[in-house]
């Protein structure tokens, strides 16, 4: 009898209404986040193809990955992308934000101008950069006029990857600049004034006042940009072409997922295994950034 009373008390503590309020969110998350994720995990253990259901093959897809040269090429390029893009996207937008932070006449124009690449379509951006960097494009014509000669921005494996990184940085500057502007607005003016009274110059004030004050924002930018950089697709696809640059040497992991898993002959099982690796690496990247942040914070 006492037991029954306790149970009914627990039931009274678990009313229906909170679940009903949460239900739409749970359903949407379940259908569009959790289900696709579980489905990808499941597919990665099968040899499923676009039109053929496939069988359970255990870890065979993951074993195959280890012997796939293109996987290692993709992993290398995606990792290089993180190394090339993230430091630039952490530092340059902060410097840009410091420049446009001042309230001087006409500064709104520059803030908008720096933000324009963010809202521009990546396809349009990609095409414009391809025209600029083409063998007969504006940049090469300029270099030729200066006597340097034409540079194979779009035909050399490494220059192509660097060019794509430059486009990613150029396009991302404005976005992260806005985040830094919000963070800089919260830096107490008194700290700068106190440092100035103590004789600190602009560089010293930047390093000793601004950077510590926006450190958590820098960590956020590092985390966001490293995940985005590891999953890069559009910039490299548009500049290197669907084959992933000369001999596919500029293929990134997400490009490989797209190439392997789409079309009527797509290998969904193998592409899902690649996606699982991309997921695992991005989780590790996030953890690394957060660990570094925690270590610096202590």
């Amino acid at each position: 009898m006492a037991d029954l009373t306790a149970r009914s008390r627990v039931r009274r503590q678990l009313p229906t209404s909170p679940w009903l309020f949460a239900a739409p969110g749970l359903l949407v998350t379940g259908a569009f986040v959790l289900y696709p994720f579980l489905s990808t995990l499941h597919n990665s253990l099968t040899d499923r193809r676009t039109l053929i259901p496939g069988r359970f093959v255990g870890l065979a897809n993951f074993r195959e990955l280890l012997h796939d040269d293109m996987f290692w090429t993709g992993l290398r390029n995606s990792s290089l992308y993180v190394l090339g893009v993230v430091p630039a996207l952490v530092v340059l937008p902060l410097l840009l934000a410091l420049l446009v932070q001042k309230n001087i006449p006409g500064i709104t124009f520059f803030r908008s101008a720096f933000y324009t690449p963010v809202v521009a379509s990546i396809v349009v951006v990609g095409l414009i950069w391809v025209w600029l960097l083409d063998e007969r494009g504006l940049v090469n014509s300029l270099l030729e006029t200066l006597g340097i000669g034409r540079v194979g921005f779009l035909s050399d494996q490494w220059l192509l990857l660097l060019s794509a990184m430059a486009v990613t940085v150029w396009k991302g500057l404005g976005y992260y600049m806005i985040i830094y502007l919000a963070a800089l607005a919260n830096v107490p003016r008194e700290l700068h004034e106190a440092a100035a009274v103590d004789g600190a110059g602009p560089v010293r004030r930047f390093l000793n006042v601004t950077v510590p004050a926006v450190r958590s924002t820098m960590v956020l930018v590092a985390a966001l940009s490293s995940v985005a950089a590891f999953k890069v697709f559009s910039e490299v696809y548009l500049m290197a072409g669907p084959s992933g640059g000369p001999a596919g040497e500029d293929t990134t992991l997400v490009m490989l997922v797209q190439r392997t898993g789409t079309g009527l002959t797509g290998r969904l099982g193998y592409a899902s295994a690649l996606s699982v690796v991309v997921f695992a690496v991005t989780v590790v990247l996030m953890l690394l950034v957060l660990c570094a942040d925690r270590r610096d914070g202590t």
């Binding site: 072409g241 084959s243 079309g263 009527l264």
Partner: protein, 430 residues
């Protein structure tokens, strides 16, 4: 009413996990092959990027069909060219494939193997004699016994060249290359004379280039690729010479047909394959090039030029097989193909149509000249792209060719690797 936490959790897990059990439960059945019976019912018809330019034509064809067969209704869907294969694969996997679908042979192959394409040798054999034998055969799939799409329009084209660039290189603009040896010699001369600034070709060799060069693409049984033979190595070696001399555009390794077409348009390259359709573009977009345009036949070592085939497939799961087959035949019959050919630079696949004066009688214009030459060459043209050659295989070949051109691998090793990769993909296709 209070809810049990355990029941709620169980329902949530079931809602999420149960759909997973659907994975792997596909049905390989081929559907009905019986297209006899009354032609009636609602069907859907999907074309490949044709609405923008040919809306009145297709609306007319559909109206005529519905008038001929009262009780039928055709819903026309048009899909953009970009990602067409992905759209079909999503529909096929999701069970929403339209009843009648515009396809190319390489798209038919996986659909036929998955039992989604109606075997027309069984369901519509009576129409076979209306089409050119080669065109009907183009939708046969190795490893299966049937024919899986009505042949629709054919296309082929000449090789365009820039007379002005030829002249600047000291070549006779009225004597374009006719053989591969002449092509390679002229290309090297153009590169030399322009100090590497003008390339003659802008694309790396594709599977149809190997076919046209006389390379055996697949073994007799159609169970494996064979383009790594001596002839294949010879072609790739010659392309390497061109690449080293900048007679092949340096950006050819990443080029697409569209980007190389643009290079020809801007007079950065001297030659480019095309079709009669391109003449209008040249006239409109590059009048200077149009004034200097030279037109010559495709270069081939086999005596057969390359042609592209379009088809119209019937979904084997259609609820109205008689109506779907009747409509697919109606769109591709001699009258409608001829009418379509007069609206755009394509060629009918129906027997006898290429003998029409429209394809044989000169009127002095460049368009007619190209059309007549193309129609003549189509009589013994070949679709060199094997129907089992998937997008993934094209990428594998392209990457190995690029390695050979860059000198990272010898042509022989590159082609051996490409064949190995394509064979593996072929086996994985099942």
């Amino acid at each position: 009413m209070p809810t049990s936490r355990r029941a709620f959790a169980a329902a949530a897990v079931a809602a999420l996990v149960l759909p997973l059990s659907a994975c792997g439960s596909g049905d390989d059945g081929g559907g009905s092959t019986d297209a006899s019976g009354k032609v009636e019912g609602d069907i859907t018809f999907q074309t490949w990027n044709l609405r923008a330019n040919f809306k009145p034509y297709f609306e007319g064809v559909i109206a005529d069909f519905e008038k001929k067969y009262p009780g039928t209704h055709v819903k026309w869907i048009d899909q953009p060219a970009e990602g067409y294969a992905d759209k079909i694969s999503a529909d096929a996997a999701g069970g929403t494939l339209p009843d009648v679908v515009n396809v190319s042979p390489d798209l038919v192959a996986p659909l036929a193997r998955a039992g989604l394409a109606l075997d027309l040798d069984k369901a519509a054999a009576r129409y076979k004699s209306e089409y050119l034998d080669g065109a009907w055969a183009s939708h046969r799939i190795p490893g299966t016994s049937g024919t899986y799409a009505f042949p629709w329009y054919l296309n082929t084209g000449p090789l365009f060249y820039n007379k002005s660039l030829f002249k600047k290189a000291g070549l006779d603009p009225e004597q374009p290359p006719k053989t591969y040896d002449e092509l390679f010699a002229d290309a090297l001369k153009v590169a030399r004379q322009s100090d590497g600034k003008v390339a003659t070709l802008a694309n790396v060799p594709t599977i149809e280039d190997f076919g046209r060069y006389g390379v055996e693409l697949m073994n007799q049984q159609g169970t494996g690729f064979a383009f790594d033979d001596a002839k294949g190595v010879e072609l790739l070696t010659k392309y390497k010479e061109l690449y080293d001399a900048k007679a092949l555009d340096p950006q050819a390794l990443t080029a697409t047909p569209e980007s190389s077409g643009k290079k020809f348009l801007t007079e950065a390259v001297a030659m480019n394959p095309g079709s009669a359709l391109d003449l209008g573009n040249f006239k409109k977009q590059a009048p200077n090039l149009y004034r200097n345009i030279g037109i010559t036949d495709q270069i081939t070592s086999t005596g057969h030029v390359n042609m592209y085939v379009m088809g119209v497939m019937v979904n084997s799961r259609t609820k109205h097989p008689p109506a779907a087959v009747a409509f697919a035949h109606y769109v591709t019959d001699a009258r409608n193909q001829m009418s379509f050919a007069k609206k755009v630079a394509i060629f009918p696949s129906t027997a006898g149509s290429l003998g029409d004066p429209y394809f044989t009688k000169e009127d002095g214009t460049d368009e007619t000249k190209v059309r007549i030459a193309a129609a003549k060459s189509l009589k013994n043209a070949v679709n060199y792209t094997p129907v089992l050659f998937s997008e993934q295989m094209k990428t594998a070949l392209r990457n190995e060719v690029a390695k050979a051109l860059q000198g990272k691998e010898s042509p022989k090793t590159a082609l051996d690797n490409a064949v190995k990769a394509c064979d593996r993909l072929l086996q994985q296709q099942g």
